[in-house]
């Protein structure tokens, strides 16, 4: 695999807070976001991008994501943040081809993922959903084994390659000591690590994680983020992670994308995205932002109400 991205300076990083959104909170549905000059896509990791995505659920008329473009820098951790209902999970599902796109296209190394055979896609792109269910009596190892599903044909047994991948995934997720335990006996945090091990056993280039830290205790939240970082550093994986906790995103992500009402409002490095103004606009809070060597630190102060936004700019 070629070396890592030469630097974080590729054209991807400039903030494009759409000017229109500052005035009235309504972005004119636009092609303006497609313009990230993506000169540096020929680097390590996989090039993964969605163009002009319109994503919705069959049950509702109105699309949840209405014209978003996102290009994920290869070999980096990109965090999707936004308030509840902003469409970040929907966008992730659209990117993973788990929700049909109403329009737009998702490309992985240039190829439209919708045209790929499902198993072929699952060998390149892994998705861990927000909530996962497994029978209680299944062992950790067996669950992780299912991550090899896309690599096996209907009749195939486990090859040595499969076993190596399973062992490696279990080790990366740090659940070796749980290997023979039944999933039903594990704590929420342990379960999440096991599920991450399963998706790692898929051995994909791109990994999409939907709120992997929500509902976990602090220890397990940090464990998860440490795994994510290790994947980027050691395996040059391209990771897109939906995070509920914006502070966590600011601390651990290389890039952030902020969504509100199904539209992308800002993108760039945490320093660029996390501003008091953006927190007011997107998250509707007053907050103090402090620059620290470990990224911007957010101190939420109070919720903003509609009346607040009238008076101020």
């Amino acid at each position: 695999m070629p070396g890592k991205t030469p630097g974080p300076d590729g054209g991807v990083s400039q903030v494009i807070t759409e000017p229109a959104s500052r005035e009235n909170g309504e972005t004119p549905a636009d092609g303006a976001q497609t313009d990230d000059g993506h000169a540096d896509s020929e680097t390590g990791g996989s090039d993964f991008r969605g163009e002009d995505l319109v994503v919705g659920y069959p049950s509702s008329e109105q699309p949840v994501i209405d014209g978003a473009s996102i290009s994920v820098a290869p070999g980096e951790v990109t965090a999707l943040v936004g308030p509840n209902g902003s469409g970040k999970s929907t966008l992730l599902k659209g990117l993973a081809d788990q929700l049909a796109l109403e329009s737009g296209v998702v490309r992985l190394d240039g190829a439209d993922i919708h045209d790929m055979e499902t198993k072929e896609l699952a060998r390149k792109l892994g998705l861990l959903s927000q909530e996962n269910v497994a029978p209680d009596s299944i062992t950790v190892e067996t669950l992780v084994e299912h991550g090899r599903y896309p690599h096996r044909d209907f009749f195939d047994g486990l090859t040595d390659e499969d076993r190596t991948a399973i062992d490696r995934a279990i080790e990366l997720a740090g659940v070796d000591h749980l290997r023979d335990r039944e999933v039903g006996q594990l704590s929420g945090g342990q379960k999440q690590l096991v599920w991450i091990a399963m998706v790692l056993a898929q051995e994909t280039d791109v990994l999409l994680l939907d709120e992997p830290t929500t509902f976990l205790d602090l220890h397990h939240q940090l464990e998860v983020m440490e795994i994510v970082r290790a994947l980027r550093d050691d395996s040059d994986m391209t990771v897109v992670v939906v995070l509920h906790d914006i502070q966590q995103a600011a601390r651990h992500a290389d890039r952030m994308v902020a969504l509100k009402d199904g539209k992308i409002r800002a993108r760039g490095t945490p320093e660029e995205v996390i501003t008091e103004q953006l927190l007011a606009e997107v998250f509707e809070i007053d907050a103090a932002v402090e620059r620290t060597p470990r990224g911007p630190r957010i101190e939420p102060l109070r919720p903003r109400h509609e009346a607040d936004s009238d008076g101020e700019t």
Binding site: S129, N132, V133, P135, H146, Y149, R163
Partner: protein, 391 residues
């Protein structure tokens, strides 16, 4: 991390792990089931109008003249001329054993079918009949017996034509009715794809309507014989089955068994939920339909030879799951043994129960016995477990 020490034992433990899933509990189920089947068989072959002692019956059963005679197997499995054999062997082999074999086949089919449907709908309370199979078959049985009983089917043949009384086609018509109802359920449930809940609801809808029609048809039956025959079919009975029924069920049972064993891994992945299965690259919709189709063929094969035997497909996967866990590689194999065990045992009860209890030589439909066993078993489970319904 505790991983350094594992590298040494890795290659050894890997080899061991490959067959780890063949667990001790599975062997318990297999051996226990085989014992029940053997015991049930012995009881079945030694009882009947022509009385034999168990020893005589056993001798007749292991009669080498029959077992190692190609012609006798040809007669049993392909329907040729029976070779000469002594009277006891003739009774045991030709009249009593087929009933046990059919019970075994029906038990296998129903248990595996139930296990598959429980994975497809991700609901522990699913049975082979959850997607309308039993109601479709039941309606067709009533229609044939009550409305079209006198009809004959004329099939043009090379020389002349083949005339078949429609009643002789009842098993096939019943099975086709079940498959037809399943297709209808799928069509009703389909709306940009299906979901377990929609499938179950559609099954309830079709089941309710067909059940009503079926009950309504009973009013038009003017002959008690027809009603009794209809009841035997719709509750499931093994009375009077012969090698003919074995020949009917076997060609369907074998592929069903093979397919269910090799799809165990797919079923395991389906248990992780649609979203996970789909993100692992499974085409969930296609897989769900294919697996359901296998399960429906299994259910239809059992209906064709034994009518609609309730509860077996529901409780057997349940019992096996309680013992071996929910890994379908073990569960399917466990069902292939426990299903026949339950069915053979229940049929002993159906055949001899009234004789023991009331001294009557009448036989009950086996479906009544499985229902009598199934209800209390679920009561026991309900009291013991807090979480019913989840796999």
């Amino acid at each position: 991390m505790a991983s350094e020490s594992t590298t040494v034992t890795d290659s050894m433990s890997r080899r061991r792990r490959a067959f780890d899933w063949l667990s001790e509990s599975l062997w318990t189920v297999v051996v226990g089931s085989l014992l029940v089947i053997a015991g049930g068989t012995l009881v079945q072959v030694s009882n009947g109008a022509f009385s034999t002692t168990p020893v005589e019956a056993w001798q007749a059963l292991v009669n080498p003249d029959v077992i190692f005679n190609l012609q006798s197997w040809q007669a049993f499995l392909l329907g040729g001329e029976l070779p000469e054999m002594n009277r006891q062997s003739l009774i045991v082999w030709n009249m009593r054993l087929p009933r046990v074999i059919v019970a075994v086949l029906v038990g296998m089919n129903l248990a595996v079918s139930g296990a598959i449907f429980q994975a497809v709908t991700r609901n522990e309370l699913a049975s082979p009949f959850i997607l309308g199979v039993s109601s479709g078959a039941g309606l067709m049985i009533l229609l044939v017996l009550v409305v079209f009983s006198g009809a004959t089917l004329v099939i043009p043949y090379v020389v002349g034509s083949l005339r078949l009384g429609i009643s002789s086609l009842l098993p096939i018509i019943a099975a086709l009715g079940g498959i037809g109802a399943f297709v209808l359920v799928y069509a009703i449930a389909w709306k940009n794809g299906t979901s377990p809940v929609r499938l179950v609801l559609a099954g309830v809808i079709v089941g309710t309507v067909f059940q009503s029609l079926q009950t309504g048809l009973f009013f038009f039956a003017n002959d008690i014989g027809v009603v009794q025959s209809a009841i035997a079919w719709t509750t499931g009975s093994l009375t009077g089955v012969e090698w003919e029924e074995v020949r009917m069920a076997l060609p369907w049972t074998i592929p069903v068994l093979v397919l269910s064993v090799i799809s165990a891994r797919q079923l395991n992945v389906l248990l992780l939920g649609e979203r996970t299965a789909s993100s692992l690259g499974m085409n969930v919709e296609r897989m769900r339909f294919a697996l359901s189709a296998v399960a429906v063929v299994a259910a239809a094969a059992s209906i064709a030879v034994a009518g609609i035997v309730g509860f077996v497909g529901l409780i057997v996967p349940h019992m096996v799951r309680n013992i071996v866990g929910s890994d379908y590689r073990r569960l399917v194999i466990g069902c292939l043994f426990a299903g026949p065990a339950l069915m053979v045992a229940a049929d002993v009860g159906a055949r001899l129960g009234l004789m023991v209890l009331a001294g009557s030589s009448e036989q009950m439909p086996v479906g009544i016995v499985t229902g009598l066993l199934g209800g209390p078993y679920f009561l026991y489970l309900m009291r013991k477990q807090d979480t019913m319904g989840e796999i």
